[in-house]
């Protein structure tokens, strides 16, 4: 307890609070720009931490991380463009709310859900880090394969129309994910004689291409009407208290989403991008009114934003206790820790308890800081988008997406792929194929392939190597869960049809 108090006092110093404030603000604006991910924001922040001491550097990075994940929600809500991959699910109900004239309501709800998610994640980290890390270690290749398959069951509820089309989108995403060097075999696949494709198609390139470009083409086609369809973009009279009531009115949804975010976050490599999709899926399945999801139901927004902010602190569990980055941005934080001579592991808490706990507490502060920064920043971004004529908004977004995509790997091929995927995305949108299942397939494809091939490699001595996938208890639990989820998805639909 003394350590916790000392840690709290260390991060409550005025200069620390200023670092948190600046970090959250910088992260918020970076996160709102399509193409600039949390990993990139932290990497850009890295040189600034060289002159800081260890705690200051970690506090700054934690604040930027929290701000970036939250910032991705703004463009997701206002222009249907997820700023970061973890905001994909925020577009599903956030943007329909904006189109109904409830943009500020959506931003306020996203802010409060993010704050609650961030604080819950920090509390989890403070209380349950070591046992959770031990659980995460039990996930081997076979379990990771089944985690990916379990994630793919989300497809049924991601599309707004046909399940078959959702599955087709998922399969297309899985196929796109196989382009490039094989993660296990090391050979080039599906490069179509074009060497740049050996590097594969980055998730961010696909995300921007499939979400942003079709939206821009739609805005070129429809003009301003594509943004504010019915009643004009946004209202101005929405109150903070009303948003709080909306978020807290469905406590089960909130708690479930936080739990989902926490569980997925502690599994190294599971990918923070899917936390919000899984939470959204469960919110829809558990709701009294699942048909309203995708049409502006705040429950979907709460699920997405609370779970992806839980993930920020949650992914620190394997990092701080085992030295394994739970998500790509954590690798940058690991770098800063090593730079300052800190060795992650359970000893970290024993030897440098003030520093480790101070870092965790500072993330809680960063989450709380989202309220003033987020609400003010959200209004600012909202006003900018609302007041900018659509004929300047479209080319401006195009400039940002091109620079953002290029910045990923300093590669113009990525820009070409992004534009190409965007045009394909626009055409297939006309066929009723949604972008979300394709992106989900792309995210989970790599995890599934690595798990699948590594497990088969381990089972080569068996007559049927694939049987290795069914061997251990955790895999069997995941298989049962997958079957249960599929059954659960199908069952209410049949019941509703009968009714």
């Amino acid at each position: 307890m003394d350590v916790l108090i000392a840690a709290a006092l260390a991060v409550l110093q005025p200069h620390m609070l200023l670092i948190v404030l600046l970090g959250v603000t910088a992260g918020l604006f970076v996160g709102a720009l399509p193409g600039l991910t949390a990993t990139m924001a932290l990497a850009l922040m890295l040189p600034f931490t060289f002159t800081m001491d260890a705690l200051e550097g970690l506090v700054a990075l934690g604040a930027v991380y929290m701000g970036t994940i939250y910032g991705g929600a703004f463009t997701a809500i206002l222009i249907n463009t997820p700023g970061t991959p973890s905001s994909i699910a925020t577009t599903f109900d956030g943007h329909p709310m904006a189109k109904q004239g409830r943009a500020l309501e959506a931003i306020s709800i996203a802010t409060i859900a993010s704050v609650i998610g961030g604080v819950v994640g920090v509390l989890f980290l403070l209380v349950a880090a070591p046992p959770l890390a031990q659980l995460a270690l039990k996930f081997g290749p076979s379990e990771m394969f089944w985690v990916a398959i379990l994630g793919l069951t989300l497809i049924g509820s991601l599309g707004t129309g046909s399940v078959l089309k959702g599955l087709l989108g998922g399969a297309i995403g899985l196929l796109i994910g196989t382009i490039g060097i094989s993660p296990i075999g090391g050979e080039s696949r599906f490069t179509f004689g074009w060497p740049p494709l050996q590097a594969g198609i980055s998730l961010i390139v696909a995300l921007i291409g499939l979400f942003v470009i079709p939206e821009l083409l739609n805005m070129m086609r429809q003009g301003r009407a594509a943004l504010d369809a019915d009643t004009g973009l946004g209202n101005s009279g929405f109150r903070f208290g009303a948003a709080m009531t909306t978020v807290l009115s469905k406590p089960v949804n909130l708690i479930r989403s936080c739990l989902i975010g926490q569980i997925i976050a502690i599994i190294p490599g599971a990918g923070g991008s899917i936390t919000s999709l899984v939470a959204y899926n469960e919110a829809k399945r558990g709701s009294d009114d699942p048909d309203s999801f995708g049409k502006g139901n705040p429950e979907g927004l709460v699920a997405s934003e609370s779970s992806n902010n839980v993930m920020v602190a949650g992914s620190m569990v394997p990092l701080l206790t085992l030295g394994i980055p739970g998500a790509p941005p954590d690798a940058v934080i690991l770098g800063v820790m090593l730079l300052h001579g800190l060795r992650p592991g359970l000893d970290l808490f024993a030897e440098t308890g003030v520093l480790a706990n101070g870092f965790i507490i500072s993330m809680g502060l960063a989450a709380l800081m989202l309220i003033p920064v987020g609400l003010l920043g959200g209004r600012l971004i909202y006003q900018v988008i609302k007041r900018t004529p659509h004929y300047f908004l479209v080319p401006t977004i195009l400039v940002i997406t091109m620079l953002g995509t290029y910045a990923l790997r300093n590669n113009l091929v990525d820009v070409a792929l992004m534009l190409g995927l965007g045009m394909v995305g626009f055409v297939i949108r006309g066929l009723g194929l949604d972008a979300a299942p394709i992106v989900l397939g792309l995210i989970l494809g790599t995890i599934a392939e690595q798990g699948y091939v590594q497990t088969i490699l381990g089972g080569m001595a068996m007559d049927i190597p694939q049987l290795r996938l069914l061997e251990n208890t955790l895999s069997q639990i995941l298989i049962v869960l997958t079957v249960a989820v599929i059954g659960w998805t199908a069952w209410p639909k049949r019941t509703r049809k009968r009714e």
Partner: protein
């Protein structure tokens, strides 16, 4: 203009075409590299066939609104030109005129353009393109595009 399309049939055909494209380009790779993509190709084919069958047997045509299709084609043309320009001319030198051209083309749909609209479009293009280019290259330290001009 509105047209009616059997989107299930077309989606299925799109899936089959994609599966065929990837199947024909799978090349000579070992078991470890081929096992997963082959499985995905089979799954994609099965789903596509199911969609085609459903489209043929019970497909309900959806209405597709083609209004504004010309603007979309212009937009696609501008994007392609933009990329080519960035690659072979330079980011700022390409982006400023194309930004202004796209903005003016979109504004023109609302009514005739005045001469001050041209000036405003070029000024906004200079500020936005120049501003973001400066932030990315100078503040964020991202290596600029390789092209003869800026």
């Amino acid at each position: 203009m509105r047209i009616r399309l059997n989107t299930e049939l077309l989606s299925g055909l799109f899936g089959l075409a994609l599966a065929a494209l990837f199947f024909l380009n799978r090349g000579q790779v070992g078991f470890l590299s081929a096992v997963f993509p082959n499985t995905v190709l089979v799954i994609l084919t099965v789903i596509s066939v199911a969609l085609v069958a459903r489209g043929l047997l019970a497909g309900e045509p959806s209405t597709l609104n083609l209004e504004g299709g010309g603007s979309v084609l212009i937009g696609i043309g501008v994007m392609v030109l933009w990329w080519v320009g960035i690659r072979y001319v330079g980011f700022v030198t390409t982006s400023v005129p194309l930004f202004a051209a796209l903005a003016l083309a979109m504004k023109r749909r609302a009514g005739p353009l005045a001469s001050k609209d041209y000036l405003i479009a070029v000024a906004v293009a200079l500020v936005v393109v120049g501003g973001f280019f400066w932030v990315f290259s100078e503040v964020l330290g991202i290596r600029p595009f390789r092209a003869p001009w800026l």
